[in-house]
Amino acid sequence: MKKILRINMSDLTAKIEEVPAAYAGLGGRALTSTIVAAEVPPTCHPLGPNNKLVFAPGLLTGTMAANSGRFSCGAKSPLTGGIKECSAGGTAGRQLANFNYFAVIIEGQPKEDKWYRIHITNDGATIEQETELVGKWNFELIAALEARLGKKPGLMMCGPAGEMKMALANISVKDSDGHIRSFGRGGLGGVMGSKKIKFISVADDGGSRAEIAEPEKFKAAAKVFAKALLDHPVSGQGLPTYGTAILVNILNEAGGLPTRNFTSGQFEGHDKISGETLHDTIVARGGKPKHGCTAGCVIQCSQVYNDEKGDYVTSGFEYETIWGLGADCCIDNLDEIALTDHMMDDLGVDSIETAVMFAVAMEAGVLPFGDGKGLLRILKEEVGKGTPLGRLLGGGTAAVGRAFGMPRVPVVKGQAIPAYDPRSVKGIGITYATTTMGADHTAGYTIATNILNVGGHIDPLKKDGQVELSRNLQIATAAIDSTGMCIFIAFPALDIPECLQALIDMINARYGLALTGDDVVALGKRTLKTEHQFNLAAGMNENDDRLPEFFNLEPVAPHMATWDFSPKEIDEFWNF
């Protein structure tokens, strides 16, 4: 039976339901967004009893397809006030898929001031009071739970930031090394905290591998797919060798690297924080220059970073984090950035929101630009301990901007803008403005075509073609986000036609369907429209599909570019 596990935190019960016919063909983001739109009142308070936290493996999660280990988490976001979907690696997605859970829906809210742990098995879930581990930071939590449960069960964790329901809070997922991947953006950790769940463990045994309807057809398609991933220079060579941080120098050269709270497009210290320097440092210190966030990943874009003594500092040390703390906060020291990345994992906060927030705080005078040690202290002693300053900073970039009376606050729908300046990379500006997720670069990654020459080239400094580019990518991404595939398969999928066909063939062989490319596009469109409808009902309108005014007023060096799309031009996005 295709199962949905429904957990009620008001009466502390769990039950298994059959996936309704209306949800056939949905997984990952398509399923979390459909369930949130169907079951969560759009005007509810995100931290109240009516919000729901929905986990959903992708359509291919749990199969032997390469790069299919990811899963989704959705809810109404405490940060944006709109719908949110996050995607993460780690082990729990595959484990949920092995039990044939298409979704885990957590609803309600405990009335008493008690915390709980949830354990999920093939037969359902147990909900028990947790006292010992409440308040623990994530790495200590993992150590304690591995001692309790062994190393194999998957874990989804609410760190201290989530316990305090900070808008920065993420949900942390354990990977097979005992390190952390994240459902990062939009404050989902606060939703988990509002339901007083400290952690969710998922058994590693007792299920069976996903039943494939047509095994031979699946295996053949999986082979074509894996070969395309390895053949494409980005997924096969560039990403495994240099990881995502290679973008530091690329964006710096292109003049689109947001620096010193988005006041310049180039950073003087870029060389100290570049992907090339990161690679050389990792190798010199015996870390891992390539590393996969899930089993079955052939791209291995991630890495393990050690200190000078060769001891583990952090992993999943990505471009966004290095850019945010490096160029945006001007901390030109990889070791300080790595320690901060580790602490953000430990506290359970989104590295993008936290970094962009700190750059605004620096401009406001809370601490100097470039003060890496000061940032670490504030994160640990103020944010981590929930002091009044910590609580204010924990409210995120927009909250800090408002508290200090600053107009230069780079957010859309209340969520911090990531590592590409929209003035000099105009396609990503359209994505930031229009995606239902708030400022989100992965939702429609036009960088591929604006900067990296993948899927053709569209000049990043001109308005021509950007709306159509962002629209096509957002539709395709919404579909890929529903499969459990890592988004980086998009690089070969954009350039190698057999790759996309093989993905469709795998979905068909898995479920005994006959989907075409048009069906996949239709799934993406439907998902975006479902999300858009939710946001409108939640009180958003076209004025929320805009970039902050300063992008129009302040030209950014070296191109002296401004954001010059009219509202009408932006609103063209939704004409589909």
Partner: protein, 77 residues
């Protein structure tokens, strides 16, 4: 024959066995692909060409003092 100075910057694995940044003299009218070939970089490996911080193409002719940046095919997120 007139010559011009071009500032060449190499990134990622293009640096291996070559250099990170160098200013070199080239004949007037030199194109991007001429420089790529002179550095013995296989043309098929070129991912991104930037001239003075803007995307360029292989056949672009360079001017005195131009900054040329060459990247292999890499990606990110």
């Amino acid at each position: 024959m007139r010559f011009m100075n071009i500032n060449v910057k190499l990134f990622a694995n293009f640096r291996l066995g070559r250099f990170t940044a160098a200013t070199r003299e080239y004949p007037a009218g030199t194109t991007v692909v001429d420089i790529v070939r002179s550095l013995q970089i296989p043309e098929s490996e070129i991912g991104i060409i930037m001239v003075d911080n803007k995307h360029g193409e292989a056949q672009d002719q360079l001017q005195e003092g131009a900054n040329l940046s060459l990247f292999p095919l890499v990606g990110g997120g």
